[in-house]
């Protein structure tokens, strides 16, 4: 499997062909259909991410030394963004996930979504995904 940075680069290139925000959003809507959906038993308040205008649930399993994410959201663009995050971070070792700097978010123009507004939870999502990795690392001594 390619490095995280390779996947990030791939995404950046995919986005470069859009010269318009509507195309980018349409693309996010399109890929939102690929999101590995969280099992419905986890769609509870316990798995919800705070600080979003949309509801976002994220879960993480651990298999063969790698973290596998599933998620869902009631807003479609948010779903598309999580799909990107999962494409980059899922099936990685905890260490890879913890170390990822996710510069692609900035490059594809979603940077303002990283601001600490309460409107969208991108920052909170990333934090939660990293927390899972940290937890698994601690639990399994994995790297």
């Amino acid at each position: 499997m390619s490095e995280i940075t390779d996947i990030e680069q791939e995404i950046v290139e995919e986005f470069e062909i859009f010269d318009d925000w509507m195309d980018r959003y349409n693309y996010l809507i399109e890929i939102s259909k690929d999101l590995p959906i969280i099992e419905s038993e986890y769609k509870t308040n316990e798995y919800i991410i705070q600080g979003c205008q949309s509801k976002v649930w994220v879960n993480a399993d651990y298999k063969d030394g790698k973290v596998i994410y599933t998620a869902d959201s009631d807003a479609i663009i948010t779903k598309g963004i999580i799909t990107l995050l999962i494409r980059v971070l899922s099936e990685r070792t905890p260490k890879e996930i913890i170390d990822a700097d996710l510069g692609f978010i900035d490059k594809i123009g979603l940077r303002e979504n990283l601001s600490p507004t309460r409107a969208n939870g991108l920052l909170a999502m990333i934090k939660q995904m990293k927390l899972y990795a940290i937890a698994y690392k601690a639990k399994h001594g994995a790297n």
Partner: protein, 405 residues
């Protein structure tokens, strides 16, 4: 004469592009833009006049004091208060409501007493009362509203008991737009000798308010929603009440004599203005109110009503839009959902089209709970908005529908 072109020239911020598109600013309920006159007054102050007020004998300080007190007079005149001493400058509507909840609570509220608000309050008129109630073991009671967005004020008769100490109601809903029949509420409450506070944060900029005619006992609002600066607002109270209320914050200027043994307080309005006040904010606020007066509140109400009617008609024509708040008496606020579309998705698309609308719970979660929704899209219009801007929003809605449904 209402000349939109001239007016829009007063608002430089409106003349910009956002994401390459001309800005359409429909977030006036959150904060209005400021006319040049306001920014200029503030700038002049910093560049030519700045000096702390009230305590200085030197020229700049006494000029600053005069301007500050003139600003107070402008507010008094704007709301037709009887006396300047009844106009207290605060940090904003929220600051005013917290002042009231604390000082009124300390004086008049004890265990088992009741405060009445409405189901359509902004959090600013809920949480201070909840904090008070939990401190004093008092009870918060709620006047409900119906699905049209009108208060069921006949319920007030049952809600008022011997334990009721205060009724605090939103004048105009920041979500539903409903203009509540505060006259009737005041009448009902006064019949039982209960004072009434009006949250005028969303009405002061839209319609003439005369506190003496209304006969409300307290009234609050923020400058920044009335074409003025941030960090300043007003707490109006009838002198007979203000005299009885204990001070809220302690510090400079609100005292008369201070010693470690006993401290006595200054007269009204200073008793409630602790510390260095936002005197430049007050001057900016006065400038904003004067700007409103120069256009005329009746002209404003007329223009905004026209925009509202136009937008509602256009929304109906599009179809598939649910408007929340359909009172016969409402201001130019349109909260809505596009069927099957999450408000955040819509908001993000509108944003890229240069349209500033607000999405979310609008600091009024009980309204969301009433309608069983997680959030709404809100377009709140000002007199400086245009029908073309509404058309553009409608095209945006069509696009959103295409993308998400």
């Amino acid at each position: 004469m209402f000349d939109l072109d001239t007016i829009r020239k007063d608002f430089p911020v409106l003349q910009q592009k956002v994401h390459g598109k001309p800005l359409v600013y429909f977030d006036n309920g959150a904060t209005t833009q400021k006319p040049r006159q306001v920014a200029q007054a503030i700038n002049d102050y910093y560049e030519k006049k700045n000096s702390s007020i009230h305590r200085g004998v030197h020229f700049l300080s006494s000029q600053a004091t005069i301007e500050y007190e003139n600003a107070r007079e402008t507010v008094r005149n704007y709301i037709s208060a009887r006396d300047k001493a009844e106009v207290i400058f605060t940090s904003g509507a929220t600051g005013s409501l917290n002042l009231l909840a604390f000082s009124f609570g300390e004086k008049f509220v004890k265990e088992g007493d009741e405060i009445i608000v409405t189901e359509m309050e902004h959090h600013a008129n809920i949480v201070p009362w909840q904090l008070l109630c939990s401190r004093k073991k008092a009870i918060l009671k709620v006047i409900p509203f119906n699905d049209t967005g009108d208060l069921e004020i006949e319920k007030l008769d049952e809600l008022i008991t011997e334990k009721t100490r205060l009724v605090s109601v939103i004048h105009t809903s920041n979500v539903l737009g409903t203009i509540n029949p505060v006259e009737k509420i005041i009448e009902k409450a006064h019949n039982k000798n209960i004072p009434v506070c009006i949250d005028a944060a969303q009405s002061i900029q839209h319609m003439p308010i005369d506190v003496q005619k209304l006969d409300c006992d307290f009234l609050v609002f923020s400058a920044h929603k009335a074409y003025g600066p941030t960090g300043i607002g007003v707490f109006y109270g009838k002198e007979e009440y203000l005299k009885q209320l204990p001070p809220y914050q302690g510090g400079g200027d609100m005292v008369d004599k201070v010693s470690f043994e006993t401290t006595t307080f200054n007269q009204l309005p200073f008793k409630f203005e602790a510390g260095t006040t936002n005197y430049i904010g007050a001057v900016g606020m006065a400038e904003g109110l004067k700007y409103i007066q120069s256009i005329g509140l009746n002209n404003i109400a007329k223009q905004e009503y026209e925009l509202l009617t136009y937008a509602k008609r256009k929304f109906e024509a599009i179809g598939g839009i649910t408007i929340y708040g359909n009172s016969a008496t409402k201001t130019s606020i349109l909260s809505f959902l596009i069927d099957g579309v999450h408000p955040l998705d819509a908001g993000m698309v509108f944003d890229k089209l240069g349209i500033a609308v607000r999405t979310g719970t609008h600091c009024a979660q009980p309204i969301m709970q009433h309608f069983g929704v997680d959030g709404m899209i809100r377009a709140s219009l000002s007199f400086y908005n245009t029908k073309e801007e509404i058309d553009y929003l409608c095209r945006g809605i069509e696009q959103v529908k295409m993308m998400f449904t």
